[in-house]
């Protein structure tokens, strides 16, 4: 993978965060350096892509995406400036890979003859193998499907800590733009000492950032009822701390396991999978 020098990376930060008016020259130059070759190759190798656009088109779309998202989704996703140069390169590759994927899907959706299975997810990334760079909630998922997935999860009979885990992760990914892998760490950091009661309150509050997602009143009541259920004598589920539910294999493995189980429920409902 081509990388950026420290100078190139620092210039992007200076231009974006410290220069008024904001400049995008270094950002676009970095994208050009990182992406020209892989996008050219991709266009040549994937007919579903090469037939609908040129690598220059893809590069321009990537510039625009980077200009809109570099500050809120990468450099200042948290309150401190993200100076992870390698992470930035991975992020740029991911942005471009997602644009390619959307193009391929669009071309597949509009093709008269069905395309070969070339538009399979696995074949799209620009040779990046970093799972943390994956965008777990593809922008292409339509809102109704997302709402449906939330309804299925909130209405499921799975244990409350699993339900809460899935919802917390989904809200985090959708509202804060973190990757699925990053969200595992964040979930632990943010919630492990909280009681489930408090955690649910926090999730409800965070979900307000997603205007299209309404946790219905009946779902909220249902969750609260599950929180009220006794975990053991004189102790409700809601009084237990999140970390009390971790299995022996550890926090991360527990969370992945719970999310996978919930996803299986969603898949069984034939709606959506994460």
């Amino acid at each position: 993978m081509i990388a950026l020098t420290e100078e190139e990376f620092d210039r992007i930060i200076v231009e974006l965060l410290e220069t008024k008016p904001v400049k995008y020259d270094a950002l676009c130059a970095a994208a050009e350096k990182l992406l020209t070759k892989p996008l050219r190759r991709k266009c040549a190798e994937v007919p579903a892509l090469g037939s609908v656009c040129t690598y220059e088109d893809l590069l321009s779309e990537t510039y625009i995406r980077l200009i809109k998202c570099a500050i809120p989704s990468f450099f200042l996703r948290t309150d401190t400036v993200n100076r992870d140069r390698e992470g930035f390169c991975r992020w740029v590759y991911t942005v471009a890979a997602n644009i390619c994927r959307d193009k391929i899907r669009f071309s597949a959706a509009h093709a008269a003859v069905p395309l070969e299975k070339d538009d399979d997810e696995d074949s799209i990334p620009l040779q990046i193998a970093d799972p943390s760079a994956e965008r777990p909630f593809a922008a292409c998922e339509d809102i109704e499907t997302l709402r449906e997935a939330f309804a299925i999860v909130l209405g499921s009979d799975m244990q409350i800590y699993k339900v809460i885990t899935w919802v917390a992760q989904a809200v985090m990914i959708l509202s804060e733009g973190v990757s699925k892998i990053e969200s595992n760490d964040l979930l632990i950091k943010r919630y492990e000492n909280m009681t489930l009661d408090r955690m649910w309150e926090e999730i409800r509050r965070a979900s307000a950032a997603l205007p299209w997602l309404r946790v219905r009143k009946e779902d909220d009541l249902r969750v609260r009822k599950m929180l009220d259920a006794p975990f053991k004598e004189n102790v409700r589920y809601g009084d237990m701390r999140y970390q009390d539910f971790y299995m022996k294999k550890g926090a991360k493995a527990s969370i992945s396991d719970w999310v996978n189980r919930i996803n299986a429920v969603i898949r069984r409902n034939d709606a959506w999978n994460m």
């Binding site: 974006l16 965060l17 008024k20 008016p21 904001v22 321009s60 779309e61 510039y63 625009i64 200009i67 809109k68 998202c69 500050i71 809120p72 989704s73 200042l76 996703r77 309150d79 959307d102 909630f137 922008a139 292409c140 998922e141 339509d142 809102i143 997302l146 959708l174 509202s175 804060e176 733009g177 307000a208 950032a209 997603l210 205007p211 299209w212």
Partner: protein
């Protein structure tokens, strides 16, 4: 500090080319985002919704209209 208006957020997340006026808008919004975590969160959320809407709607204009409606129904406009 005056936050970015909902209208500007909608324009910002739906920029799909870089005309002079689009560039000016992105510069203005980005300058504010450097100092405002609230607006960064609002922009991220609006971008997620807009992208999903764009996949559903036929045109950018339709997606923008629906985004405006989605945001309208929340407390967004009171910020």
């Amino acid at each position: 500090m005056e936050h970015v208006s909902v209208e500007k957020i909608i324009e910002f997340v739906s920029v799909d080319r870089l005309s002079e006026s689009d560039l000016a808008l992105t510069r203005e919004v980005n300058a504010h985002l450097c100092d405002c975590a609230d607006c960064r969160r609002r922009v991220r959320a609006a971008q997620t919704v807009y992208d999903a809407l764009l996949a559903e709607c036929k045109t950018r204009e339709a997606a923008k209209k629906r985004l405006s409606r989605e945001l309208d129904e929340t407390l967004e406009r009171k910020i």
